[in-house]
Symmetry: C2
Subunit: 202 residues, 2 copies
């Protein structure tokens, strides 16, 4: 069936949110770790991480200003350091629970039962159980006027990845790390590799 | 192993590209269809689609200016209309081949053997074999000064989705559509649903 703007606009709000959130395709599932000036930890699942470049190594996050992620946004903007932690099969239920609206004085690490980890004096907390852990430094912040969301661009200044899943060519086998992928607002998937494709030439 | 900025910077260029491209997690695999003012078609696989908002329904694309995707960028900026087509298991090899640097006068639809489709007088070409097809209208364009990439924000003005994969709550079962997911530069994966999770409350 074909839905055009008028039909999309007429959808009930939650129905439209579920529908539109499914349309981009599969999404990365990352836990964003941060802390405020008082050392209060925050952890939030996000599905909006996107690759911006390799040199320097840059990833962006899209954040809504008005939802349960506001503490993460405040922490990232004030402290500049945050972490991205891949969600794997053994922690996806706890990871999803971080989406609940906990008060600021509650650490989602404690609330959902995920242990913190410190790495190399990095000032934001990592998720101990995550197989792939990234330490990020805020490099740019743009408010997208079109709908008030925030684009947060960070540089990967620390990557903690087991040597056993790094290939000879530098590629990381995130399937072997049991990293999950997300669809829509709440569907979690495991993956099976179909193929690695050669560099495409005409 | 922990890699910090100095180690990341010292990596050989292609090794670093493969490594860093793996770190964001699983990515959406979409074919971007466009055409120029003369009606010349272009088709390019992209892994950088990210959800921006549901109302209005907005998706962003991150595009490098200097690679094989330059024809797509020119077409999107000049014609404003483009399409996003989910890559499914039966077309992922043809989809990957669109990454080759074909001359502008070659349509990648023809070069890789994917049929075009017109829908509802939309001015850009869809991929007939794609199960989920989106017609996009350019709404904003930002050049990211940090590395010269382009952020293209488009509104979904047409969504072609089979009724059979739309749930009662509006969610779309893109796993049932055999939509694939990508890791790094060249690894394609099928998915298996682990769970749908309930709305998280403290």
């Amino acid at each position: 069936m074909i839905y055009q703007s008028a039909q999309l606009d007429a959808m009930e709000q939650r129905y439209r949110a579920a529908f539109v959130n499914s349309l981009s395709g599969f999404k990365a599932a990352n836990l964003v770790g941060s802390c405020d000036a008082d050392g209060q930890y925050n952890l939030a699942i996000m599905s909006s991480v996107v690759h911006i470049g390799s040199h320097p190594p840059l990833l962006a996050l899209v954040l809504r200003p008005d939802d349960a992620k506001q503490h993460s946004l405040q922490n990232i903007l004030s402290q500049k350091h945050y972490t991205l932690n891949h969600v794997s099969e053994d922690i996806f239920k706890a990871a999803h629970q971080t989406a609940a609206r906990y008060p600021k004085e509650i650490s989602e690490f404690d609330a959902v039962g995920l242990d913190t980890q410190q790495l190399a004096d990095f000032p934001a907390p990592f998720v101990k159980a995550a197989v792939v852990k990234l330490g990020m430094l805020l490099r740019d912040h743009k408010k997208l006027e079109i709908n008030g969301t925030h684009l947060i661009i960070g540089e990967i200044v620390l990557a903690c990845v087991p040597d056993s899943i790094i290939g000879d060519d530098g590629s990381v086998d995130i399937g072997a790390a049991n990293t999950v992928t997300l669809s829509g607002l709440d569907s979690y998937y495991s993956t099976s590799r179909l193929a690695r494709m050669p560099y495409a030439k005409p």
